[in-house]
């Protein structure tokens, strides 16, 4: 079975200004720089990264807010970006998104009913929608009379639930969740997450789950990818990923998480302490972009950008510490384990 969504060497560069004598040399931000991965049907694929790592750019490119600079995104084998430009409606219907901040993703001047009717009127015109709106509210466990409320009368959690209902309106098969709970309190987070997990079961959905909260990721995702400055540095099954993180950046991320029990403390890698600043995406370091902060930096790191290597059972790492078996590397390098 082909994956539901596949990214092949996706690149998205933004031009943020011009420099040079004639102001003709573009200054580019490589927000996403050669990202490849596949999401299988029914999977919750977690994408983790700090601000500026390009995770939201991946999401926005997928739903069509941006056109990729190069590379391909395929939905069930069909390219999302055709030469004609406009994405066909039957594909738009299949891929939906829930944004981070429900305060700004819901129109304050529209009632919940109007908010939920808009996608319905686009994808199923000439139909009465009130019944479907009520059905959607029931699906997300909100009282049906909420359809006459306006966003300002809802709490943060309820707004996010309305945003989820809106994403469900077109009966999609794939939903992008861009930090769906990071604007909410932890006491509400559980309700939203469990709702999302139940909806996935019920409607056979696949999710691309974007977050910077690794503890949350551990409990939600089936597979996890870590992004750093526009590139993926590690991909693995969630359980394997947390048991045996390989990339030094992943280890740094995990060891930085504040946890609430001794049991969790024991799971954090001890050797890698966070240091250094996240470089600006305008000025990405040469070679491996992490080398300035890496405790295991070698001579080769500032010179050569490492390749993605499969270290067994689908655990992919992009780091010189894990050289590919087939390639010959310069002498004098040691694998630190």
């Amino acid at each position: 079975m082909p994956p539901i969504l596949e990214y092949k060497e996706l690149k998205k560069y933004f031009t943020i200004g011009y420099r040079g004598l004639l102001k003709r040399e573009p200054i580019t931000v490589k927000a996403v720089d050669g990202v490849s991965f596949a999401i299988h049907k029914g999977e919750i694929f977690g994408l983790v990264g700090e601000s500026g790592s390009g995770k939201s750019t991946v999401a926005y490119t997928t739903i069509g807010m941006y056109r990729p600079t190069s590379g391909v995104i395929e939905f069930q084998g069909e390219s999302l970006f055709t030469r004609e430009g406009k994405r066909p409606r039957h594909i738009k219907k299949e891929i939906q998104i829930v944004f981070q901040d429900p305060g700004s993703s819901l129109n304050p001047r529209r009632s919940v009913k109007e908010i939920l009717e808009l996608p319905l009127s686009i994808h199923q015109p000439a139909k009465k929608h009130i019944g479907r709106v009520a059905e959607l509210l029931e699906m997300v466990e909100l009282p049906v009379d909420y359809m006459y409320k306006y966003p300002q009368a809802l709490s943060g959690g309820e707004k996010q639930i309305v945003a989820i209902a809106r994403a469900l309106a077109t009966e999609p098969s794939f939903i992008i969740l861009d930090e769906p709970t990071s604007a909410l309190d932890v006491s509400i987070q559980g309700k939203i997450i469990n709702l999302l997990l139940r909806l996935r079961q019920e409607f056979h959905l696949s999710y691309l789950f974007i977050t910077h909260d690794l503890s949350l990721m551990r409990n939600v995702a089936s597979r996890v990818a870590i992004m750093y400055l526009g590139k993926i540095c590690e991909v693995a099954e969630a359980s394997e990923f947390f048991r045996n993180p390989k990339h030094p950046y992943t280890q740094m991320l995990l060891s930085s998480i504040p946890v609430v029990s001794e049991e969790e403390e024991a799971l954090k890698p001890k050797r890698v302490q966070s240091r250094g600043e996240i470089p600006s995406p305008v000025n990405i370091p040469s070679g491996c972009s992490f080398h300035l902060r890496c405790p295991y930096k070698m001579d080769i790191c500032p010179r050569v950008d490492p390749q993605m290597v499969d270290t067994g059972s689908g655990h992919l790492v992009r780091c010189h510490l894990y050289p590919a078996q087939t390639e010959n590397h310069p002498a004098g390098e040691q694998v630190i384990t």
């Binding site: 700090e50 601000s51 709490s155 959690g157 309190d185 932890v186 006491s187 509400i188 987070q189 559980g190 309700k191 997450i193 469990n194 910077h212 909260d213 690794l214 503890s215 949350l216 551990r218 409990n219 939600v220 359980s239 947390f242 740094m252 991320l253 995990l254 060891s255 930085s256 998480i257 504040p258 946890v259 609430v260 029990s261 049991e263 969790e264 799971l267 954090k268 302490q273 966070s274 240091r275 600043e277 996240i278 600006s280």
Partner: protein, 329 residues
């Protein structure tokens, strides 16, 4: 760990703050009581809107009045009531006695002055004996930037906030707050606006600095993990009052107030096991807060008395207090 018989440096007694809005008064703080001893690291946790920041601003008297109104209570700093101080007395307390690090370092720094000018002002006005000349101020500014592990401090003095990253700005704010050698440092969510690896660096730095100088600290946050790693004792706040306080270890091992328990269970664990449902309902409307215990509409163990009367603090263990009738003997 600070001995329990150390006299309190800061004592907040029954602090009540209301906000005047269209249609009435928001009864936000409903009798807050807390103590911070010299050298103690205290955490204050609670969900957004529960009054954490309001309490801290009331302590420093930087709440805009109106709309805010301090209705009752006392804030004793070294035994003197901050709420009744004259402006000149207050100036002695702000900065030199108590200083504050704000959540968003971008908003806390003035964009049109250089780091050197802003830091220099703090050093000049907080200097205790006599006046400093420009050279001495610069030396002290360099010194305080070095303490927060900022690289190339000479260049930084001439930089504007916009030229620094978020983590660097927060370090500058820490440098400013500590340059006055305060006895009490209030840190309001110092890592929340930063990425997790940077937050970790900032918290380690802050922890080392306060331990080194024996400064007391109140760390406000809604991230329980941060509290566990940094503090000695924790206050849990819900809807404008303290509902539980305990030494950090005790609280994490044995949370007792139903809200604290729900909060602990809501945190996703790195060890897996799914995400708990959390606490049903939402923080109450302060215009018409619930009678009795303000948590009662959301409480799974609600009893008749909870609706009628506000529970007092019950002692349930060594230094462990809970405002809940479940623990009344």
């Amino acid at each position: 760990m600070v001995r329990m018989d150390t006299p309190p440096l800061l004592e907040v007694r029954d602090l009540q703050v209301h906000f005047k809005v269209f249609g009435g008064h928001l009864k936000v703080l409903d009798g807050v009581n807390m103590i911070v001893r010299a050298g103690e690291k205290v955490g204050l946790v609670g969900e957004s809107g529960c009054g954490k920041t309001t309490t801290m601003k009331a302590i420093l008297r930087i709440l805009p009045q109106p709309p805010a109104k301090i209705v009752g209570g006392q804030v004793l700093f070294r035994g003197q009531d901050v709420l009744r101080m004259r402006p000149d007395e207050l100036r002695q307390i702000r900065g030199r006695g108590i200083s504050m690090i704000f959540q968003d370092p971008t908003a806390a720094l003035n964009p049109v002055f250089t780091i050197g000018q802003q830091l220099g002002d703090v050093i000049r006005y907080s200097h205790r004996n006599g006046r400093l000349d420009a050279r001495q101020i610069q030396l002290k500014a360099l010194q305080s930037l070095k303490e927060v592990a900022l690289a190339d401090p000479e260049r930084l003095l001439h930089s504007y906030p916009i030229q620094l990253s978020g983590g660097m700005r927060q370090r500058v704010c820490i440098a400013m707050a500590l340059a006055t050698q305060p006895e009490l440092l209030i840190a309001d969510e110092p890592g929340t606006s930063l990425d997790v690896t940077i937050q970790d660096q900032i918290l380690r730095l802050l922890h080392n600095l306060v331990v080194e100088r024996n400064t007391s600290i109140i760390l406000i946050t809604h991230t329980l993990g941060v509290v566990r790693e940094v503090t000695d004792r924790v206050y849990v706040m819900y809807a404008g009052s303290i509902v539980e306080s305990a030494p950090t270890k005790t609280l994490f091992a044995n949370p007792m107030f139903p809200y604290t328990r729900g909060l602990m269970q809501s945190v996703p664990r790195l060890s897996g096991g799914g995400v708990a449902e959390g606490i049903p309902g939402r923080i109450p409307n302060y215009l018409h807060p619930p009678s009795g215990c303000r948590f009662h509409p959301r409480c799974p163990h609600v009893m008749e008395i909870c609706r009628r009367e506000k529970p007092p603090m019950f002692t349930v263990g060594e230094e462990h207090y809970v405002a809940c009738y479940l623990y009344a003997c």
